[in-house]
Amino acid sequence: MSEALLKVDDVTARYGRLAVLHGVSLDIKQGEIVALIGANGAGKTTLMMTICGRPRASQGHIVFNGQDITQLPTHEIARLRIAQSPEGRRIFPRMTVMENLQMGAIIADDPEGFDKDLERVGALFPVLKARADQRGGTLSGGEQQMLAIARALMGRPKLLLLDEPSLGLAPLVVKQIFEAIKELNSQGLTVFLVEQNAYHTLKLADRGYVMVNGKITMSGTGQELLERKEVRAAYLEGGAALEQGGQK
């Protein structure tokens, strides 16, 4: 077994007095797609934000690439090449697509390589190329999600954190985005994916974790989890039926 790229070890996080994560442990290895699924309010987004240092873990350790990042400020964590496409996309609405991408490139800190990165991102999401001079806020939801991912990629991350990239998007766009994630992974990028869309996510992921009320309750390969009765009952039956209905 290779050493984990990101190791979350017995992490507890709280908002004020309210503990949201209770001793969460998971690890992500180089080159994997790891999924975290769970219901609303389970603490998925909190875990993702805790990895980025806000809220800070009140207990436990987070180790990235052999370095303990538990106490680092967010911007320094980001500079270790952990890129995040946050929940709700959070693109810069009044700045153009191009400027959004430039903001993402700050971490890469390589002005000469900017055009190449731009090319790579443009190949992944051609629509962004066409909209380069348009303001971020005028893009459609799907395009904004693509921009959020593209912006994260401009920093040449070692680990990409994706928080609910399918949120509020049409099935066709979701498919497009998941294909892009697959493509990125095949180029060697490690991806940590937080999703409610359990069926698509687990099919895509190498491994997955299930979170309930701030605890990891199950883990296994994506296929294993898909076949587990509890997972099917809690996250899939309804969703899968909808999916099939929608695709007809």
Binding site: P73, H75, A78, P93, M103
Partner: protein
Amino acid sequence: MAEPGKSFGLRFKAALADSFLGGIIAFALFSFVLGLRTVDSVTGLTLQPRPMLLAVAVGTVFFGRLLLNLFVWQADHPLTTPFAKLFSAEPFDRRDITVLGAAALLSALGFVTAVILNAPAYQLIAVVLPVFIGLGLLRRQIVQTFPDLPYARIFITCAILFALFFPLTSFGLEKAFNLGLPLRYWFDLSILVLTYVMLGWGLNIVVGLAGLLDLGYVAFYAVGAYTFALLATYFGLSFWVCLPIAGLAAAVWGVVLGFPVLRLRGDYLAIVTLAFGEIVRIVLLNWTEVTNGPNGISGIPKPTFFGLPFSPFGDNTFSAFFGIKYDPLQGIIFLYYVILVLALLTNLVTLRMRRLPIGRAWEAMREDEIACRSLGINTTVTKLTAFATGALFGGLAGGFFATRQGFISPESFTFIESAIILAIVVLGGMGSQLGVAIAAVVMVGGFEALRHTDGLQSFFGEGFDPALYRMLLFGIAMVGIMVWRPRGIIASRSPTILLDDAKEDLP
């Protein structure tokens, strides 16, 4: 909105009901404000009713609203459309031409009547509409003939040229219009306007670019002014030494203020900065040993032309050195160019910084602070630099203010100054350099122009002082801009980079 299916009778009824309601509200509001007047009499204060005035005010609201309802708001073809079309590329139809023609004809009739009655104020009013239509048509024609000219750039170039050659242009203007104002007045006014342009541009960095609502900007202005004044009077340092130190001192205070408010945003930030502004003023007021308290500091030396003072006496003066006759205007023209250079410097630095990573980070922080952090931007440093840069220019302007006035006291640095500067930034369109400059010229210069509108006296009667209505007009302008241009005079933020290089950047 007009409902095409509705008959005129129904629409008239609705309009009447609406106007009636407006009239009632006007009556309720005006009955105390206009309808009653307190008079000092032998028995003490008594109330004197003014029914005529009240009736006129309520009637104006009622009939004005009725007319607006019938011909604009509820009408199938609002009378305002042709005028709005003047400023678009839409073609006119016959109705538009009829309306515009009728308006011009009516104005002409009004003008003739005013000439016969010998009422110059009414003549002026009668010209407004035709001039408006004429300018609109001219603009339309130019835009249609040369659709691709970079108008904003031309406008900016003209404005800068105008400012650079202001000593000549002001002379020409004075001669052409014969306003009877001394040249010195023109320079004092333009120096005042440019000071506010510079303050607006400085605050624009904090509010417009970084999105940090600062209600205490005048504090930095004060710090700069007092630093300059104290250094110059206590230590006798020269203008060119004091000015940068004044700017730096203000920048340091910008950082000092920045630290405690790092975690604050929006309303909370506004409250703390407001308090900071007051604290600075009150300290200046009470620290008598150093600042001389409410008496202020006087005798601040005027700037010298690189060591050559502007003075009629002595051998080593500006006029003696260049072998020209001394004129008090020379010093003022020099001051004018100093503030012009300072203001342009502010603008230049801002424009450059917007293209640098730090400037980008400011704008990104305004948009989304959390996203910024996840992109590796240190928001602490970003905020502090924004405060410090904004404060630097505030301090420079303050230093200039001190040397120009020759006397400063805490009274010059009250909250209203902060409010005016902020109003300039907001009305101009946050983040737009050109918009801020236009707003400063309109707000400061426009109010000054009120002092010279003597024609209004013949309209409103003797003893009417338009300058007294400054704040009323200020409020009306504010409401008007917020209704019609809610994002400021120049609302659009120009991108700092475009894929297509043919497009020009706007400041």
